[in-house]
């Protein structure tokens, strides 16, 4: 298990380098530049600006300089959010976004998996129908519909929670965004868990454990659950990507000052350092959660661990 973890961690850095290189190339290949929107800038001034930010150098020189700075933890200055370095912008937004994302994943796991188990164990035509209906709704409704709906009910009719906005250090403002982000994921996880557990319960080794007089509760808990959770753990990787893209929308809907807006705005503005910074942060997050998913798979299945 430790070996598996070390092997995966060792693979993180090269993967990250590939991400940095590719995104560096793609954003530079995109037409336009950071100072296109500046009104009435003479070509001479623009050339000066580009020289100031090192944009006049050949691309490979810029790339190597960027890597060297990155190695020292320097993401560079934002080209459009003047007077802020990318690092400062990330430091402002990331705590909010990370809390939102991780809480949503945790909530989805804690809600979705037990719901899926329950749906698999207590089957009836009515229950199966409700599961299918809720699942269809949960996955079909986009978060920009669920979000305002939740805000309408809990914020305006019931007045339990704030509709939108942010005050540092208050969890109340995060509740609805987390719920909005977690809901579709929880539904997907519940569906996955239910289908997978139903399949495992038909496996020969479950029958064989039953023939040994292992009680039903222990049978599910000890023999069936771990293999059943294997597909669920594998799904954590894609789920991270889902949460990250979802958080862009949710942050906008609830007016949270997270990092999502920097990614969108940075891309529109061709604010190269900002986009790169965001890609790296999200890249690291995705890699770490994928690593977690891999380790979870290794824990669930000894054959993977020994692979």
């Amino acid at each position: 298990m430790l070996k598996l973890a070390l092997r995966r961690i060792a693979a993180l850095l090269p993967t990250l380098l590939v991400i940095v290189t590719l995104s560096f190339a793609i954003i530079r290949l995109a037409p336009g530049g950071p100072f296109d929107a500046e009104q009435g800038v003479s070509p001479a001034v623009r050339a000066n600006l580009e020289r100031l930010y090192g944009l006049s150098k050949p691309l490979h020189v810029q790339y190597l300089r960027y890597l060297r700075a990155l190695a020292h933890g320097d993401f560079g200055p934002s080209l459009r959010q003047r007077d802020f370095t990318v690092r400062e912008l990330i430091a402002q937004g990331l705590p909010i976004s990370a809390t939102l994302g991780l809480c949503a994943i945790a909530l989805a796991l804690l809600g979705g998996i037990p719901a899926g188990i329950a749906a698999a164990l207590w089957r009836s035509p009515a229950a199966d129908f409700s599961v299918a209906a809720i699942a269809a709704l949960g996955m079909a409704l986009p978060s920009f519909v669920i979000g305002p709906l939740l805000a309408l009910v809990f914020g305006i009719y019931l007045r339990w929670l704030p509709v939108a906005g942010w005050q540092p250090g208050t969890a109340r403002y995060l509740l609805l965004p987390v719920l909005t982000l977690a809901l579709p994921l929880a539904v997907a996880l519940a569906r996955l868990t239910r289908a997978s557990l139903l399949e495992v319960l038909r496996a020969p080794y479950v029958r064989s454990a039953r023939a040994r007089g292992i009680g039903e509760a222990r049978l599910v808990w000890r023999h069936a659950l771990r293999p059943a959770l294997l597909p669920v753990a594998s799904y954590l990787g894609p789920a991270t990507a889902f949460v990250i893209t979802g958080s862009l929308v949710v942050e906008a809907v609830f007016g949270l000052p997270g990092t999502g807006r920097y990614l969108v705005q940075g891309a529109i503005d061709r604010d190269y350092p900002l986009v790169m910074g965001m890609v790296i942060v999200y890249g690291i997050l995705t890699l770490l959660l994928n690593l977690l998913a891999d380790l979870a798979c290794g824990w669930l299945d000894p054959a993977i661990r020994h692979g």
């Binding site: 080794y205 007089g213 009680g215 023999h223 293999p227």
Partner: protein, 617 residues
């Protein structure tokens, strides 16, 4: 033992039998399906006495498994059992919940067919043993561990202390089945039910497991039910035999009587299936074809090596799947390749067809060396060289209909044919393998295993190939279907003058279909001989062991054969023994055997790689 109860008249009710561990009376099992109820077991009455082994034999679908699953409350959700099955004083039918769990695993242990899938994959062998011991025997952790080790010893698991820490996937099939038996015995049940416990195992391992069951029977009065489709498998173990067909018990009696003088014609049929079949009439027995033009297929010194990736930072280990295998096949000849799993049989098949690339050696088909051919030439040649696979349904594309599957080779190799002509060819191919034309529109999941294998054969035969490689074509099928497929292959061969490379671990099938047999062990050839000579007088100690492991449907002979079964499994190909790879299992191994692998000696159509065969002959 149990069968020795002559004082009880034949008409006596079995449930009155005081010594009976299990008495079943008028037990029936039915399954509710959308098309109405299906009766799987009808009115079966039988009993098993303490210390006795009852062999239950029947083909798949005869209800033999459902009968015993019903007693353990393991029927599928739509199954219903009626009648009575008493274990001592406890009525099993209708028992549920905790009361049922005080019987199964405690008083009745059950062993299932496939040890691969019947052990929980994420729990160690030790954990699965300890679970039963702690739950049913109330043992503490340390006591359970010590007891678990003793149980593994009792079923002759090698290195039991280490096995306790291992997961099922780290064990060989034979070791896994032993572990499963140990788990079933953990709570010291009065009755052990083994449902086809050897079906998925190699013949040598099958003999070892049967010998183990024969040894366990009667210890502490343990009663045994051995369910199998193969009469021979129970000859050395069972005291009494019950024959089932279509859910009904058609004959029951002491094993000697039933095997020697079966009363029911169906029992005679089963016995015939199990005993060695007479060789099929082979067209070109004397090598007229050989005289005409030498070898059609010539394999020289073929080797296939892999590098198995080590753990992190450890170097890769070389694995020799096949080493120095040479063989020649005349046109129209049929060569059988036999050996246990891991012997390199399938690797050889794939390397011959260049479905995988050999590391060394040459394969020459009709004077052309396959390895040197470019891909268009190779593709053109492929119409001559076809293969059928072990998994009849797994080797068919699930999204294509039967007609599309058989038609596909024509689209590649017969591009001049139009759609109507192709349909005609497909229709002929279907008829030739004995499939109804109506099956053409079906998908693989709608076929039985036998039908699926016929489709595979039709697909291989549609281009009229000259060499057909059969990689375990019948081992996934039940006995009657096996016979049908084997005789179909025999017919096709005679009708078309096919050259056949037939790979199987089932020696009886090889004997029926092949003129010569090559025996492989751990990737090396150890003996080559005409089939009749090999079966009559094997020379290599390994060939002898293989042949001795085949069960014989004779209750007077089989116990002695089982008693003589040698322990041991093939070593890991990652760490093969030095010298002769077989020496670690060989009863005749001498000092020289450890030095280097013996030279291949060939004379009079027989070949052998053994230092000592002359002395042993």
């Amino acid at each position: 033992m149990g069968c020795a109860m002559p004082s009880i008249p034949a008409s006596a009710d079995h449930s009155q039998d005081a010594a009976a561990v299990l008495s079943v009376r008028r037990l029936s099992v039915a399954f509710d399906t959308p098309n109405g109820a299906v009766q799987a077991v009808r009115d079966v009455t039988l009993s098993v006495a303490a210390g006795e082994c009852l062999g239950v034999v029947g083909e798949s679908g005869s209800g033999k498994s459902q009968l015993f699953l019903a007693m353990l409350g393991l029927l599928a959700a739509n199954g219903r059992a009626t009648g009575s099955a008493r274990l001592g004083q406890t009525e099993l039918i209708g028992l549920r919940g905790p009361a049922l769990d005080r019987v199964r695993g405690v008083q009745i242990g059950m062993v299932f067919q496939d040890p691969m899938t019947s052990l929980t994959p994420h729990l160690t062998i030790g954990a699965q043993l300890a679970e039963v011991l702690r739950r049913h025997r109330g043992l503490e952790r340390a006591a359970a561990r010590a007891r678990a080790e003793g149980l593994l010893e009792r079923v002759h698991v090698s290195d039991p202390a280490r096995r306790l820490e291992q997961y099922p996937h780290e064990l060989s099939g034979g070791m896994r089945q032993r572990a499963m038996i140990a788990i079933a015995l953990a709570a010291e049940p009065r009755l052990l039910i083994a449902d086809e416990p050897t079906t998925s195992l190699d013949v040598t391992i099958q003999a070892q497991i049967l010998a183990l069951l024969a040894e366990l029977k009667g210890t502490h009065g343990l009663a045994l039910v051995l369910i199998t489709h193969d009469v021979a498998a129970l000859a050395g173990v069972a005291d009494r035999v019950a024959v089932m067909r279509h859910g009904t018990l058609i004959e029951t009696g002491p094993v000697r009587e039933v095997l020697r003088t079966p009363r029911d014609p169906y029992t005679r049929e089963l016995l015939q299936e199990s005993s060695a079949p007479p060789p099929v009439q082979v067209a070109a027995r004397t090598p007229s074809a050989a005289a005409a033009g030498g070898a059609a297929l010539s394999v020289r010194d073929l080797g296939v090596r892999y590098r198995v990736r080590g753990r992190w930072l450890e170097p890769a280990t070389p694995l020799a799947a096949l080493t120095g295998v040479s063989l020649e096949l005349r046109a129209g000849e049929s060569l059988g390749i036999v050996g246990e799993s891991g012997s390199g049989k399938s690797t050889l098949a794939r390397a011959v067809l260049r479905l995988l690339d050999a590391s060394s050696g040459r394969v020459v088909w009709m004077g052309r060396e396959l390895a040197t051919l470019r891909s268009p030439e190779l593709r053109a040649l492929r119409r001559d060289l076809q293969i059928i696979f072990q998994e009849p349904l797994g080797s068919l594309d699930p999204r294509m209909t039967v007609a599309e599957i058989i038609e596909e080779p024509l689209l590649v190799h017969e591009r001049s044919l139009d759609a109507a002509a192709r349909r005609a060819v497909v229709a002929t191919a279907l008829a030739r393998v004995g499939l109804a034309a109506a099956l053409a529109g079906r998908y693989p999941h709608e076929l039985s295993g036998g039908q699926g294998q016929r489709v595979g054969i039709a697909r291989a035969m549609v281009l009229a190939p000259r060499l057909l490689v059969c990689d375990e074509p019948v081992s996934a099928l039940d006995a009657p279907t096996q016979r049908q497929i084997v005789s179909l292959l025999g017919e096709l061969r005679r009708a078309q003058g096919l050259t056949l490379l037939f790979i199987s671990h089932n020696l009886a099938v090889v004997r029926e279909l092949c003129e010569r047999v090559l025996v492989l062990y751990l990737g090396r050839r150890v003996e080559l001989a005409p089939a009749a000579e090999l079966f009559a007088a094997p020379r290599h100690p390994y060939s002898r062991e293989l042949l001795a492991a085949i069960p014989v449907a004779d209750a007077d002979v089989q116990p002695a054969r089982l008693a003589a079964v040698r322990a041991g499994e093939p070593p890991s190909p990652l760490d093969p023994p030095s010298g002769c790879v077989y020496r670690t299992r060989c009863a005749q191994a001498a000092a020289q055997c450890a030095v280097r692998f013996p030279e291949w000696e060939e004379e009079g159509g027989r070949g052998i790689a053994c230092y000592r065969w002359r002395e042993l002959a």
